[in-house]
Amino acid sequence: MISIDVNGKTVEARKEEMLLSALKRAGFEIPTLCYLEGLTPTGACRMCVVEVEGVPGLVPSCAYPVFNGMKVQTHSKRVMVARKTIVELLLADHPDDCLYCVRNNNCELQTLAATLGVREKVYQGKKNKYKIDASSPSIVRDPSKCILCGRCVRVCEEVQNVSAIDFTGRGSSTVVSTAFDQGLNVSSCINCGQCIMVCPTGALREQSYLKDVINALKDPNLHVVVQHAPAVSVSLAEEFGIKAGTDIDGIMTAALRTLGFAKVFDTSFSADLTIMEEGSELVQRIKTGGKLPMMTSCSPGWIKYVEQFYPDFIDNLSTCKSPQQMLGAVIKSYYAQTNGIDPKKIFSVSVMPCTAKKFEAERPEMGRGAVQDIDAVLTTRELAELIRLYGVDMNGLTTSLPDNPFGQRSTAGKLFGASGGVMEAALRSAYFLLTGTEMAELDIKEVRGMKGVKEAKVKINGLEIGVAVVSGLSNAANLLEQIRAGRNDLHFIEVMTCPGGCIAGGGQPFNANTDAVIARMKGLYKIDKSEPIRVSHKNESVLKLYKEFLGEPLGHKSHELLHTKYAKRQVVQ
């Protein structure tokens, strides 16, 4: 530890750390725009400039290492003028249409302009105009609103190992774009939406399907049903000012009913169904010498990533559809049949923490003929928007239970929302399938937590099963490279595209720091701890579905409805 002087106070700093992290830890409020914890500092925006005694110019604290005895001024006159000027200059080339912007009241640039007291248009001139790229089913890019902080570029490259976008051009005509300025839909973008999560302005947003849902709800000829993913009920609360990690499942169900959905189903039900299929698939692959290690297929960003960058691993992917698609498929088959509803008249909505689910729902293989499994995907944020739009008072609602036949879930299904959850649920059931008895200790602590790579060895019937759980695709890529190089001690790998799993997905509420994401994760494990049914194979509704309709896991009907295939995908890489 070394000590530095900040505004006359002595502050402890770690040797070789950047000044900004020492300042933040000591509680100094330093505005930032391009800074992202854990990623390479670029010093691009200069918002975090401070004055260091003896250094001629102002220095960007995010990219300036501390040294012993340094004297820092964080809010001197010179610093304040510089910060305000930076915002004024950014606004000089930014559309003045906050009222119409998706990030109104939730925009870092807007907040900074307000905090720094920007009250007039100091610099006026011609503004850059760019076409909006709405080609992707998941993400919309509006470069006119971009302030070139480069957070999206770094997340796409460093966290996801995709690099679909980068800075192009030079000087005042610099713009973040894809290769050859083509649409995101033909780029290597995997639709994860992590770029949206880090964008300080409205330059990146989800492709909204709210209008379609609202129109469907108004249409008397449509039977509109909704499902919600495991991670949504522990995240939605934040949109309404409730503490991160609070589970508002019952309230959310009541709100969805108030909005006019005929049935409210729980995607955690089909997470249990996924476990029955995927667990059986794993057991079958192990018993019959199938392709190993098997890799999970719930996360659509990861699926597209493999199809593009690692097609030699396509046979390792589980053929199971994701829980969203499985539920969509049984809604338009079993549910339609048993209730005498024409599948074409069902409008099936899902609420997901994810933007890639929008892409997944549109995959041509995700349906039968003209009937798609899912008709519209909303993010957690869009659901909050819908609730506000219809003036539903979340405080005035009485909790409500989801509808049969797809309302019951085990807590294992709920765990799908966190990295490690699918693995834990699958192991609990695979153990039962292989031994006929329950695991003595259902908690598999090694696969829990926020770490990007988690590994464990699990003994079942004398067989040692090697498992790995990764989240963030750069971690997945590292693991695939190890396997390509000959690593062969793994049987089963869970991959989630977003770091930490769906709780940190690209469709989740903004402004969540790591603590909020951890709180969401804890919310899920709290549910797992407090309820009696903790394994998917004890979900009565799932068992009934097999008895009445599907037959058995991996059976003929399952293959038709619940499994899919993947193919090498040509995109601009």
Partner: protein
């Protein structure tokens, strides 16, 4: 498919890393006359860099172009002296006459249009340069005649 010449360029840089990117792009452009999409993608594969990154670097520099050049390249000087003498109007007239923007090639493949910062003959402003031939003190009303003379020349050569 990548042109044979561009493939030869990549063969010259067998174990290249990202710091060889610009020399490789320069040589590919010299071989093909421009950077094709395929070339950018292949250079990316060769260096294990994404196409967006290569495209980003290439668009940073004026020296790279992304369209197949026409038989004749027209350079319009937009330096200070030419600007004062009305080069904006000259550029607009050429764009209209050819129905292309700067940085594009006409459909018949005859002309491509480039804007340059300063050719260095300010005394002749406004000046345009077609395949190395300078045209001094150009007026908008002369543009059609100048272009026609080249059209004629090319059709005679063919």
């Amino acid at each position: 498919m990548l042109s044979t010449k561009a493939q030869d360029v990549l063969k010259k840089f067998p174990d290249a890393k990202r710091d060889s990117l610009i020399p490789i792009l320069q040589e590919v452009q010299e071989a093909d006359g421009y950077l094709s999409k395929q070339a950018i993608i292949e250079v990316g594969r060769h260096l294990k860099l994404s196409a967006s990154k290569i495209y980003g670097v290439a668009t940073f520099y004026n020296q790279f172009r992304f369209y197949k050049p026409g038989k004749l390249t027209i350079q319009v000087c937009r330096g200070t002296a030419c600007h004062v003498k009305g080069s904006a109007k000259i550029l607009d007239t050429i764009k209209q006459e050819l129905s292309i923007d700067a940085g594009q090639t006409t459909k018949d493949g005859l002309f491509s249009l480039e804007v340059v910062a300063c050719i260095g003959v300010c005394g002749l402003a406004p000046v345009i340069c077609i395949e190395g031939e300078f045209h001094a003190n150009v007026l908008p009303e002369n543009i059609k005649n100048i272009l026609d003379s080249y059209r004629k020349k090319v059709s005679q050569d063919d």
